[in-house]
Each structure stands twice: as C-alpha cells, then as structure tokens.
Amino acid sequence: MEKKPSLVLLVAFTLFIVGVIGTVILPYFDGEINEPTANAEARNYKVDSAEARGREVYIQNGCQTCHTQFVRSVQADINQNLGPATAGGDYKYDLPHLMGSNRTGPDLMWVGTRWNESWQRQHLIDPQSTSPGSIMPSFAYLSEQEMKDLIAYLMSLKPADAKPK
C-alpha cells in the first residue's frame, strides 16, 4: 500500500462513505426527526407570507450568528425558562435550519411567547432602550416593510399549543 496511492484513496473513500451512511443517511430513516410535529406545522409558512419574508430578513441580517433556536432538556435551558425542549420533528420545514451554535444573545425558539410587537419594534430599533447594557446592534436600518415582516416572524415563534394573544 505504501507504493499505491490509488489504493490509499480507495480505502480512504470507503471509510468516508461508511461515516456518511452512519451519521447522515441512516437518520433519514428515523421517523422521530422527519415526522412533522404540531410545532412544525405552525412554522410551515405560506410562500410570501409576512412570516416567510420575515424569516428571510432574519437570515439576511445574520440573526442566527448570535441567536440559537435550540432548546435542550438540560439545567441551563430549564432554569433560563427557555420553554419546551425542541424535538427533531419541530424543524421539519425549517430550511435552512436556524438552530445556531452560539448564544451571544438569548435563544429565540419560543420568543413569540415572551414579548409583544411593540416591544420587539422598540428593541430592534434601539436595543439599549429596552435592555440597558445589551450588546445587540440596532437594526434601525431595516425598511418599514422588512421591520414588519421580521416582527411577524418573531411573533410566530411559539409552541403550537400556546394561547393566542
């Protein structure tokens, strides 16, 4: 093998494919993560609805680089009152997914239950006015339409069984 690069490549490729099958392909057959839950249905936005457009604004402005949408059943998340732990099926229609990896700001999975529209608007325009000392930048540069859409999206982020406000 020490003289056959093609053999090295072949074995390296085979081991790679085994890992892909184990961690990417097999989960495809697991119903738990691919069956939509009621929460998923609540986030299955109609094309060009305010919520769907707002989700685009969220992505284009990189909200996901600071905010997770990922609640675990661990002490930290329970004691922070983040809401119900998320299940695989909750993300059925969440494409591209916005789980995130870093909480520079708080988790937003169920943020729609925490604040109302006018708080959200005030906070997006001038974060210091609602949360003194916050390190969130102002998003006052958004157009009125973008702002409305983004707020509609944020307000939609609540469990399917949450009481309508």
């Binding site: 020490e2 003289k3 690069p5 090295v8 490549l9 074995v11 390296a12 081991l15 790679f16 085994v18 890992g19 892909v20 184990g22 961690t23 990417v24 989960p27 697991d30 738990e32 993560i33 691919n34 939509p36 992505i59 284009q60 402005n61 990189g62 909200c63 996901q64 680089t65 997770t68 990922f70 675990r72 059943s73 002490q75 930290a76 004691n79 922070q80 998320t86 695989g88 099926g89 909750d90 993300y91 059925k92 229609y93 969440d94 494409l95 591209p96 997914h97 789980m99 990896s101 870093n102 909480r103 520079t104 974060p127 949360s131 000392g133 390190i135 930048p137 102002s138 998003f139 540069y141």
Partner: protein, 456 residues
C-alpha cells in the same frame, strides 16, 4: 501571463493567502469589538452577522486552505522527487480561487448566506469552490503519478486523503436547503461538514505539514512511520463520525448521539500517535527551538493541537456539553484547531518554503521573533479569556440568572479577548511585512547579480 517557473504556484498561493489572513483576522477583531461596542461600524453591509460570517469563512477557506494548497504544491514534488505537474495550472487555479473567495466575501456582506456554519457561501459560490479544488487536486494527483520516489512518505498519505475528503465533505454539507428532507437532517449534514472541514482537511493537511517539517527542521528522521500510519487510518475511520456531537442534548435520537460520542473519544488514538511521534522525534533536538522560530511554530502548533484534542472529546460528553455548549467556551475551542494549531504550522510552512524558494534567510529575524511572541501570547490571552467567560456563563445560566446579566458579567473577559486578538493581528502584519521585504531583497539581489554579469 501565467508563470511556469519552479515553485511559482506555491509562492502565489501562499502570498495571496497572507493577504486573506490579514483581512480575515481583521474581520475577527471587528466581531470582537462589536461584542463590546455594538454601534461600532453598524451599517447594513457591516452588521455583526455579516462580519462574523465573513471572518469564519475567509480564515478557513481563504487563508488557511490557501496556505495548505501552497504547502502541498511545494512539499509534494519534493517528497515525490519530481516537479509539479503544471506550475501554470497551479498559478491559474490560484487566481481563480482568489476570485471565488472575493465573490464569497461580497455575497456574505450583501446578506446572501446559506446559513450552515463553515458552509455559509451561497450555492453559486460553492460550485466554483469545488471546481477550483478539483483543478488543484488534479494537478497534485498527476504530480504523484509521475513520482520518482516510489514509497509514499506519510505526509503524502495525509495530503492525498485530504484532497479527496474536502470536496466530498463540502458537497454533503452545502446542498441546496430544499434538497434536505427536514431541518434536523440538514443540521446533521451541516455538522458533518462543520466537523470534517476540521477533521478531514485542516487536521489532516496540518499533520502532514508537521510530519514534513519536523524531520527537516530537527535534522532527525521521523521516529516511527508505522505509528503515523496508525494515526492516519484511525483519523480516517473515526473522524467522519463526529458530526452528531454538535447536536448534543438536542433534537436527535439517542442512537445518533452515541454514534457521535464514541468515535469522538476514540479520536484520542490518532492524537496520541501524533504526539508520541512528535516527542520521540524532538528528543535531543529541543535546544534548536530556542533559535529557530520556524521550528518553534511547529512545536507550539503541535502543543495547541494536543490541547484542542483533549478538549474536543470531553466536550462531546453530554454532561460537559450541557455546561459549555452555546457559551463563549465554544468560540475559544473553535479557534484552537484552525488558529492555534494549524495557522501556526502554516506560519512555519510559510517561513520554511519562502527560505527554500528564495535561497535566503528571512529579512528580519527580530520580526520573526516578534511574530511568534505576539501570536502565541495573543492567542493564549484570547483563548483563556473565552474559556473562562464560557464557564462563568455556563454556571450562571444553570443558576437561572437573567440572560442580560450573564452578558454583562463576562464583559471584562470579552474585552481581554479583543486585546489578545489585537496582539495576534499585530503579529500577522509583521509576518506579512517580513515576507514582502524578503522577496524584495531577493529581487534586488537578482537584479544586481544580473548587472554584475552584464558589466563583466
């Protein structure tokens, strides 16, 4: 227009990589400053999210990956006792890759992102990244095919594997979002990319660099070829399984998490092989570290690699993850591999290659020393502040403190991180200036030699 001169491709890839190093790190510092002072440069194009994404993508795919390609273009012909298959193709692909990176950078600033971490460029840019990588791989595979040295030194194994794995990994994580059956599936594919961009590209090329440079710089043969082989095959076997640990305690079934945790622990095997080989080869050569900055960068990079790999498997445990996940700790850890370990080995590779290519010592030894100490102290300050901040935050969340309070309480550490980052960047500017002066000195010596010949 495109040169066919020996080593010109390696030179072009490395020199342009250093340009991206300066830009990419400056974007990182901007991110750090924005976490202290959110109004800093707060316009739509330069909003926090755009800058952070560009920082991550450019330091990995522009700086580090281009320095890697440069290393391979230089080292592989040497190890194979042949010349590069095509210097011209190497130069053409360098220009193309730079253009693609520029496109990626601009699209991220414009808010076009595919969201997946380590795969944020939009699909139209991804396609071009893959095409240029295939050109590079073609050039290198052809070089290996025409080799005079029949036995493949271990570095070539690592380089070969990496050139196969990177494009495949990149494709799996970067398919258009609508092709995935669910967000959770996409997260698994995305973290397959997120982890293996590190495991099957950054780590494997970096280890190849270490195995190349260590014998050259110490003047001692590699302690054990067999051990390095065991390392190669255990990385190839276990690293691919690591993606799921990024969703620890999250929305995936237990069997997937276990399939992620166990291989994460088994990764201690390849790390141990690299380390045993490293220490056994260094035996009797430690005194050289004092005077040789290049060797010192290899040593420091290897030690940071060990630290990263001790943290990694521990963080994959559900208990540890539940404390540190989503905190500043993660960011500190994420910089260990790409920055502490493999940017350092790439600095060493750059110093070594440029000295070999020009046939001269570096313009300033003092600047080399300064580059090393700014980088090392800056990095230690940077990472220790983030780890500390992360642990504080993790416990504060468990105590149920309000989120805003947990942001305010780590502010001193976030400031210390920015100071460490400033030192790091200062070091890189010295590096770039030293490279410029070294090539400049070479040019003028060539010109004066030419004049001497002409007047003789």
């Amino acid at each position: 227009m495109f040169s066919n001169e020996k080593n010109s491709a390696a030179k072009l890839w490395f020199v342009t990589a250093v340009f991206w190093l300066l830009l990419g790190m400056s974007l990182g510092l901007t991110t750090a400053i924005k976490q202290i002072s959110p109004d800093f440069l707060n316009y739509q194009i330069t909003t926090y999210g755009h800058i952070r994404s560009s920082h991550v993508m450019l330091v990995i795919y522009a700086w580090l990956s281009m320095a890697y390609v440069a290393s391979m273009l230089y080292m592989i012909p040497k190890l194979a006792r042949t010349t590069l298959y095509s210097e011209k193709l190497g130069n053409v692909s360098a220009v193309l890759y730079n253009i693609v990176m520029l496109e990626g950078f601009v699209s991220l600033l414009m808010g076009q992102t595919s969201v997946i971490e380590y795969g944020e460029f939009p699909v139209w840019v991804d396609v071009q990244v893959i095409l240029v990588l295939v050109l590079v791989a073609h050039n290198i595979f052809k070089t290996i095919a025409q080799r005079q040295e029949k036995v493949l030194y271990v570095s070539i194994w690592y380089f070969l594997g990496s050139l196969l794995w990177l494009p495949l990994t990149y494709i799996i994580g970067n398919l258009p979002a609508s092709w995935y059956p669910s967000g959770t599936e996409q997260a698994l594919a995305g973290w397959f990319l997120g982890h293996n961009a590190i495991g099957l590209w950054m780590t494997t090329v970096g280890v190849g660099q270490i195995y190349y440079l260590l014998p050259k710089l110490t003047g001692r043969p590699l302690y054990s070829h067999e051990l390095s082989m065991i390392g190669f095959w255990t990385i190839a076997t276990f690293y691919v399984w690591n993606g799921p640990h990024h969703l620890m305690n999250g929305p995936v079934p237990g069997w997937i998490l276990k399939a992620g945790i166990i291989p994460s622990l088994l990764l201690l095997i390849p790390v141990w092989t690299v380390f045993h080989n490293f220490f056994a080869t260094m035996k009797g050569a430690w005194h050289k570290v004092k005077d040789d900055v290049t060797l010192r960068f290899v040593v420091a990079g290897s030690i940071f690699y060990l630290m990263a790999c001790i943290q990694g498997p521990l963080q994959a445990l559900p208990s540890v993850s539940s404390l540190v996940k989503f905190t500043h700790w993660t960011v500190g850890h994420a910089h260990m591999g790409p920055l502490g370990a493999f940017s350092f080995t790439s600095f060493a590779a750059g110093y070594y290659m440029i000295q070999q290519i020009t046939g001269n010592e570096f313009w300033s030894k003092k600047l080399q020393e300064a580059h090393f100490w700014f980088s090392t102290i800056g990095f230690l300050l940077f990472s220790f502040s983030l780890w500390t901040a992360g642990i504080i935050q993790g416990f504060a969340w468990i105590e149920g403190k309000s989120f805003l309070d947990t942001v305010l309480m780590v502010r001193p550490y976030v400031i210390a991180r920015a100071i460490g980052g400033t030192m790091l960047i200062a070091g890189q500017f010295l590096f770039a200036f030293n490279i410029y002066k070294t090539f400049k000195a070479k040019q003028s010596s060539v010109v004066s030699e030419g004049n001497a010949v002409a007047t003789a």
